[in-house]
Structures are given as C-alpha cells and as structure tokens.
Symmetry: C2
Subunit: 383 residues, 2 copies
C-alpha cells in the first residue's frame, strides 16, 4: 500500500448560484484543482465524484461519465460515489485507495451538488434518512437533529446559547473566507431569535441549501515534490457505518460511526487528538458540531456545549474547529462538502488560509457524515 499525497485543491464560491449549471460548477472545481497541482489534465488517470442526489436535484444520473465527457477527460475511468452528505468524503477515500493500491497514479476526487434548481430541497435531502422508518413518517432532518439536541440538553445540560455559539463561531471564521456562502458575522441573539425550524433549532442553527463544487488532486507521496513544494500527506483515511435510524440507537447523543472512524484514524496515523491542530467537522446543525467534537475525542462526552462557550473551538483556541466557516457558514452542497473540508485543511496546512489561518497548523482532520450518522468518514492530513 503506497503513501498518498494531495498536490492540488480548489473550491468554487458556495451559495445560491443561479448563473451556474451543475456541469459548470464541477468543471470550475476540477480545472482549478488541476491548475493548482501543476499537472496537465492529460496526466489524470481516474476520477471520483461525490454527489448525493443529482437524480432528484437535476434529473441526471451517470454524472461521473458526464463530467469526464464535459471536461475532456475521456477515456479515464470515472465513478460517482454516494453516501448522502458523506459522498464527498467517500470520493476522497476512493481516490486515496486508487492511488494507494497502485491501480492509478494521479487521481482527482471531486464533489458537487446543485441544490437550488428545485422548488423544495427537503424531499431530496430526506432520502438520506431511512424512507420507510423516518422520512415517510414525517421526520425531516431538522426534526431528527432537534430530537438529538433536546436529548443532549436533557442529558448534559447543554444550553440553547451554547448551540447558538457554535453557529456564531462558524460565521466569525466565514467572515474571512471569500468562498463562503455567508461571509459575515452573526450574533447569539440573532441565532436564538431567528425563525424556529424544529425546537430547539432555529434557522441559524441549520446549514443552508447550497450550490457548489470542490476538487483535490492526489498522487503517490514519493512523486509529490515533482509537482509542488507543499504536498499534503494523507496520514489516515477511514470510514464507518452506523444505524440509519435514531430509534435503533442505544444513545442518540452519540454517533457511533464517528467514534469508530476516528479511533481507526488515530491508529492509522499513529496520532492522538493532541496532535491535531485544526479540524473541519460536519455541523449540518449546530448540535451536530457539538456531537462531533465529543465523538472525535477533542472534549469529554457531554462537554461539547461548555467547551464551545469557553472558546476552545475558536481560531486561536485549543482546537480550532471549522476555520472555513463549516457547513453552517461556508455552505453545505451535500456531495461537495467532504472535498471542501479537505481543501480547507490543505490550505491551512500550506499556510495559505489568509485571515482565517490557524497559526502553525501542521496536522489537520476532516469529519464528514451522511444522514444522522449512517456513514462517517475521517481523514487526517499533514504537511
């Protein structure tokens, strides 16, 4: 198994991009990543595309072949990888495996979602849950995560303000990220007084509906310096599955798939939480950001809320979380998120993150989940 390095990354602007089509978005991300990696497009040997549901959002399946065709990459092998909101993270992982195996040398993993071409994104997003046991009974994702939040508040005394603070920190970071959907600050009062979505979660606890794409290019670690002075090395790439439905869990305040994937990642990288300088977590809702820092081991179970309040997740804190602005403020184009997270960590480790740079970041982590934790994937990257 060969070591793998990432040599290029790109992310489109995230937002409601009425002027960009699905194929334009992914093309921009791919071409940007190729440019950034100093390779020629003709050197690419394979492509993996993370996408949750282009079938429902833009009535198009077979998207990997479409993208290869549209970007002039034929005849290289291309596959779409789907695991709901973890599709991007899994596309990254498949790309890493393709290089590690020796099947391919230079591989691009990308993610894309065009969510604003439908009147209502909710039914499409709901297909990430168990249709028979959850969605068709009326449980949308905000309501599922609201139940988790309520239980976390009951079990551990997590406060409404602590949830809101997770969102405001994301926005503080996004204010320095020109590619973020919401590059501005918000206050705790604004979060708490925004429209109620599913008690206790208000609109500003929820990640938005977003169009966007991102891509990274990777190669065998031993070849990376041919292309870039700042290769980023893949120290761990892990994934785990968990129950699709909340009613099957012993404890809905823990996402087992995150715990399993994280444990394997620390083992694979021979590192611990103390070694991680910054992490991009999957905060589709504020409560999920708090679950993530607990389940990844950065704070004790139940201490997510107070830890956020104390400021340890701020840039400059003990473990800066979501320097990009996270799903909440950078935006959450479902299949693109896992790749955008990796791109942010790559820029942080290269020292290219501008005003949102985490000082001296040498090792970073990404955490991407599907549904309410049916899938989780964790990557550890280092300079």
């Amino acid at each position: 198994m060969r070591d793998v390095a990432i040599i290029g990354a790109h992310q489109t602007k995230f937002g409601e991009l009425w002027d960009f089509s699905f194929r334009q978005l992914i093309s921009e991300a791919g071409i940007g990543a190729i440019d950034d990696s100093n390779i020629e497009g003709g050197n690419l040997e394979a492509m993996y595309i993370g996408n949750m549901t282009a079938g429902l959002f833009v009535q198009q399946e077979h998207i990997a072949a479409l993208i290869a065709d549209h970007t002039g990459l034929n005849p290289i092998p291309c596959a779409r990888i789907e695991a709901a909101c973890a599709s991007g993270g899994l596309a990254l992982r498949q790309g890493i495996m393709a290089v590690a195996s020796g099947y391919h040398n230079i591989v691009i993993s990308a993610g894309v979602e065009k969510m604003t071409d439908v009147v209502d994104a909710t039914p499409a997003i709901a297909t990430a849950s168990d249709q028979e046991w959850e969605a068709k009974q009326g449980a949308t994702f905000p309501s599922l995560y609201a139940m988790i939040a309520k239980r976390h508040m009951y079990e551990y005394g997590t406060t409404r303000e602590q949830l809101a603070r997770f969102s405001t920190i994301n926005h503080e970071n996004a204010a320095n990220n020109p590619k973020a959907q919401f590059p501005f600050e918000i206050t705790i009062d604004q979060v708490m007084n925004s429209t109620m979505v599913a008690d206790p979660l208000t609109l500003l606890d929820c990640s938005p509906v977003t169009d966007g794409a991102a891509a990274v290019v990777m190669c065998p670690a031993e070849d990376a310096k041919k292309y870039t002075d700042t290769p980023i090395y893949v120290k761990a790439s892990t994934q785990a599955s968990g129950t699709m439905t909340l009613h099957d869990r012993k404890d809905i305040t823990t996402i087992d798939a995150t715990k399993v994937a994280a444990k394997k990642a620390y083992e694979m990288a021979k590192l611990s939480t103390n070694d991680i300088d910054t992490v991009e977590v999957h905060d589709c809702f504020s409560i999920n950001g708090i679950l993530a820092i607990e389940d990844l081991g950065f704070v004790e179970k139940g201490q997510g809320g107070p830890s956020v309040e104390e400021g340890i997740t701020e840039n400059g804190g003990k473990i800066p979380v979501n320097p990009s602005g996270g799903l909440k403020a950078r935006g959450h184009p479902l299949g693109a998120t896992g790749i955008a997270q990796a791109a942010e960590i790559i820029w942080q480790l290269r020292g290219e993150a501008g005003k949102r740079q985490v000082e001296g970041a040498e090792i970073g982590m990404t955490h991407n989940i599907g549904g309410t934790g049916g899938t989780a994937t964790v990557h550890i990257l280092s300079r």
Copy 2:
C-alpha cells in the same frame, strides 16, 4: 498490488418481484454470497453497492449505509457506486481495488435495482443519458439504440433477422437458467413481429424492466483456498469513459469506451480474445450485443450480424455469449447487472452452470456499460 480472488456469488431470481422490497432483494443476494463463500458475515471488512437510481425508483439514497444497517454489517465501510447501468461492474471494480490495495481483506460487492415500484421506469432510466442534450429533447434509450442499429444496418448490411437472432440465442440460454426473468425460448418471427418500440427495434429486441440483486465476495488470492476449493481469480479489471451523447461520436456504431477497456483488460491479463472461453456482454438492446462482440474484438467490425447468424455466439460455438440469457432474457436490474454477469462467469468457471454450462470454460469475461457507452467496464476472470 495484491492479486484478488472471488470466493462466493449469489443472484436473486430476476423479474417483476412484487413481493420483495428493495432491502429484501439486496439482503438475499448478500447473505447468499456470504453463505457461498464459507465466511462469517463478521469477517467482511467493506461493502460496495452498485445501484443506478434508487433515488428515483424508491425515493431512497444513502443505500449502502441502509443495507449495512439492515443486514447487520455495521460498522464496516460501505459505499454506493453509480455509473448508470454499469454501476454493478464499477462496484465490482472498487471491491477489487479495495482488496488489491491492502486496505481491506474480505470485501463484498453487490448490485441491486428495484424498478417496478414506479408507474413508468422510462424517465428514471433516461437520467443515464445527457439530460440537456438527449433526454430533454425526447431521446429515450430505445430511440438512441435504434439510431445505432439503423446506422449499423446501413454501414455493414446487418439485417433485421440478425438482430432478432441475438435475442433468440439469449432466450435459448435463459431457458436453462432458473433465475432468469424469461426462462423460455422465443422465435425470430416472434421478435420481428412483436410491438415496434423504435424502428428497427421491437419489444423483443429490448431488455426488460427488472427487479433483482446479486453479490460476490472477494479476498486476497493467496487466502482464497482457505474458504473454497474453487476460487475464481481476477485477471483484469478495467474501465473507460466515452462520450455521453451520440452526436459527439465520430462513429455511432462503435463504443470507444468498450474498446479502450477491453484493450487494457487484455494487456492486464496478458491474454487475447482467443483465450476467452465465454463472455457476458451488455445487450440492453440486441444491437448492443452485436456492437459488444465487435468492440471486444471477438469478430471484425461490421461482422457482428453475420457472426451471430452463423452461430459462433451460441453455447457450443466459437465464443459462447451470454450463457446466462444476457440482459434480454436473464433480465436487467440496472445496478445489479454487472454483478450478475460476474456471478454467471464464476458459475461457468466452477462448472456449476447446469444445463447451460459452457464446456470446459476456464477463462471468462464480463462487459458492462452505462448509457450508450459513457462508461464501460471489462473484467477477465479465470479458474
């Protein structure tokens, strides 16, 4: 890169399976393959699911996690792979790469499609073509392949009877396959006089709408004899992309992706067409079976029609094609087809194919394509 062997295979009955749900079908296939491989389910380390569009057929994405959960496989990593009708072949390929890379030891690759739960499958199937340039202009798959057939007839003198003969040979084979959707013979007259779908293709030139699932279990070749006396070795696993749309092709009677994938497969396996004892080709329409035997190199370009007429593709002929009955008569549950093809070749190479056994088969091939050839994947397997 490690060598890989397949140690177990299973296919559900294919057909209009009103009494089986999506999750029942895939569970039966998976459990059957696990049983056949003499492993314990707990030994599986990863799962890949080929599926084209559960989002549109059963309003469910995130299906790999769903299946892992439903079959008790949590927390192993699971991913859905999508490349239209080649989804199964690509899931097989990802499984092979996962073992070859050393990331995982025992891996299951499966495919599933539940197509009969919608009133009309055509709009969902059409998402395998380029929506903007083909489907939304009214081009369905029968019409696209009808254009290919017309051109092949014009260029090479292929006859209506030759197309029909491809279907009747499939049915002769399926008559000996109890898992086939249509396990009975049909005549050339019946094909030619069946309902016109898109001139020159009639109903009996077209593969049906099918529910079904299939699965295979693989492990490092060096470990295979621990589990089975008859491991089947993966000699080549290749894939290529081609143009999504017919209007972009220099020649619509050739599928370039098939040619590229086949050439790479022969190189990877260090074999030639003469070494292949039997092949499962992607005959979604009769014309595509004829294209396949040409593009895979079994006959000269343009000689597909006469070759079928001469009988070389029959069981007992020079190159027996689709001993299972093929997509036409075994059935074509989109994402399951590539895995079902592999299962058939595995049974053929083990000598377990009963009345449809190809005498002395030692090396076999599968050929699975997406759309009109936007994706093609080829596998060569041997005893």
